[in-house]
Symmetry: C2
Subunit: 501 residues, 2 copies
Amino acid sequence: MSAETSWTELETRMRELAELSRVVTLLDWDTQTTMPPAGSLGRARVTATIRVLRHRRLVEPRLGELLADLESSDIDPQRAAMVRVAGRSHRRAARLPDDLVRRISVASTLGNSAWREARAAHDFAQFQPHLEEIVRLKREQADLLGHDGERYDALLEAYEPGMRTERLVPLFEGLRSELRTLLDAIAGAPAQPSPLNGVVYPEAPQIRLANRILADIGFDLDAGRLDQSAHPFSSMVGLRDVRVTTRLYPENPFPSVFSTIHEAGHGMYDQGFDPAFEDLPLSEAPSLGAHESQSRLWENIVGRSRPFWERYTPVARELLGSDLGGMDADAVYRYVNRVSPSLIRVDADEATYNLHILIRFELELALLREELEVADLPGAWNDAYERHLGVRPPHDGDGVMQDTHWSDGSFGYFPTYTLGNLYSAMLWNRLAADVPGVDDAIAAGRFAPILDWLREHVHRPGHLLECEDLMRHVTGAGLSHGPLIDYLWAKLGPLYGISRP
Amino acid sequence: MSAETSWTELETRMRELAELSRVVTLLDWDTQTTMPPAGSLGRARVTATIRVLRHRRLVEPRLGELLADLESSDIDPQRAAMVRVAGRSHRRAARLPDDLVRRISVASTLGNSAWREARAAHDFAQFQPHLEEIVRLKREQADLLGHDGERYDALLEAYEPGMRTERLVPLFEGLRSELRTLLDAIAGAPAQPSPLNGVVYPEAPQIRLANRILADIGFDLDAGRLDQSAHPFSSMVGLRDVRVTTRLYPENPFPSVFSTIHEAGHGMYDQGFDPAFEDLPLSEAPSLGAHESQSRLWENIVGRSRPFWERYTPVARELLGSDLGGMDADAVYRYVNRVSPSLIRVDADEATYNLHILIRFELELALLREELEVADLPGAWNDAYERHLGVRPPHDGDGVMQDTHWSDGSFGYFPTYTLGNLYSAMLWNRLAADVPGVDDAIAAGRFAPILDWLREHVHRPGHLLECEDLMRHVTGAGLSHGPLIDYLWAKLGPLYGISRP
């Protein structure tokens, strides 16, 4: 069989696998935004059925034959990359029986529903049996996938291919030490005030502001849309159909703005792959860390910048019909960059955010290593928060149950947030050097120079290279915490009147 | 193999088939309510992929073996009914190649998008090539399914099992003749006035009124929800997840009320199957005519009744914050029962509604018989409207392109609306005899006696009997236009001051 014939058959199969993934994504999107409460059980079954059907197609020996045929053929770099990506998925999946795929899927969907209720009730006991089942299944899955003694690696691989625990541990320790120095300096400086005063910002104007910013920064609203959900997220539910969500707080319009920009950073990545490879494995980020580099770059480096608020303070005043507690652009800039150790990750500032992630990484690593059991998790969580952030949750709803991830089986996912932060600072250094006058462009509401640069260097290549190779190729540097720490000092030093020791 | 073993395997397969249908239903729901415009092509492909996967599972020889095994076994009536229903689906599907299933699915999804745009532009030429392709495919499908010389029967069978064109033609001719007599009498009476005067009714209060009525009549909002769409519909997108939609008109709050009640009639049927057979072929209506009997019974016989508006005129005034153009309950009752030949089926009154259906039936029959080609359809449509209703569409948007059905390949569907009307009147005769004081219950806002009766006699049995057998079993009578015509004279006679000749 010629390589061309094999390729044609492989392409058909890869498209079908992509389509089945899209269906699962739509089911999840609908579950989180729209589905009525009684639909949970049926949705869990349907989602599992589609996942199992996809799994069966993915592990078919015929797919392995086609991949082997093409791995030994002379093909162009794009096709070679797709064969590499598809081959890895095929081989990983082949280690898992259908039945485990179904059990994990059902436990995740039901676990997520149980978590939602238990969190609202601040009652970990309701959630505990679900989480115990999920942890059991994830340990089993990791052992079947295979590892060199570190179960966590087998799960991490799904989100950050090639990354290993033994590299994360020292990277994160170095980061934590640098953040500690920064936070100690800030703790000695006067706190920034919060001028918000209980004024209520209705939904409709907040949504108008969010849609205005989406359109301005370059999110294609013809090929996407904005909705509300309890936890903001972005998902590509179909070809040219990328959905982002936001969460509105009645008394504070800023969290919705940052959620929107964050999710748009993800969404514009998904809208920016090379159309020549639609529904093929090149049309995806090489890792979740790469994906998160886009959301954090837009949310923090662009969205929390001074020129951004020079532009958008008047826009927000007009669209919200409010004087924002009397804040001018400078005051908004100071307000949205306040640093203060807190309980909730998604509301955390840039300086403390990664400490939240490091806590989760340590705890899930301990769970996978069987050094910690689920029953002891809330206590371990509270102790870690007290130790690393100096705050102790008043209840498990604002503690161990604040995040959705473990409830749906996403173990090994959290480190990608911190990797995304590190990559975002590395990318911005390069972008700012390549794009002169980027601050002026932001202040003028012109985001095309930023988006164009990201399109060319990060979005269009998709999964042509693995994440670290892509980042090294684009930035000329290897993964480190240096650029993020430099960026934080450069921004927060002047804001708090502190100098780097 | 024992019958019990065969049954267990069959049950698993039937549940999977039901789940795949649910996924297609959710994809369609999302397409019509939520999907951004650029998503059409990807959605067409994904929907086709799931339909083809389902088709492949449905035609597997193993399914045929299990069915054959059970058909020759001694099983209870419920299982026998499910084997009958599943067997018919299996045998029909087995006559169609995968490729035709995919082509019909893609042509339908894209045809529906093209129709939406062409309709808004009043430009049939844009839609014509899509419709030509769909008609070609449906003729091919009908011939592969097989028929006794009447292609239409092969398509009708999908919606109304056992019904035949040769029975519909005389049934519909008799109905038309009776309606003509009634309409001639009404034409000689003074017209009812329309007191609506251009006041705008905002969306939020209209939606609140719709949700209030949904809750009152018994639609379970914990296992369902209300949204908006260009064309109101009801669909069961998952187990215990039934979605209804409505369409709002800014200057008239009544169409949304009737759309809501109509779709709730469908939705309560889907919420009312016996839970013991969830996701199995007993949890479905025996035909679309049976389904429509529920929506029309609630919309017209309950929702356009005098006691209903005695109850809901004050509720509507309060929730809409309007005096409804000064109408009291009697005026609303007269207003919502005005009879006037018009262009648009979905806005038609009870007396002219079926004439709209009969026009469509004749035209689609002619298309399938190749007595009419798509290019000549708009002219034939306009002539038929002039002949039967005395009105001629000013453009094709309000003419041949007003309905979605042909654009998504639903040929053979329209007669089920009229069958539903006939069955609704037959059922109401029985219900009113069985449930004394039903008018008083409606006037008191107590709908449980009606819903309970329908649950027991129509909803819970599901597909245990075929439609005509079910209706005969419940009403003691065979299908005829008599009860509907009697009902219309009984209502419209006094309203228009006319007597039956």
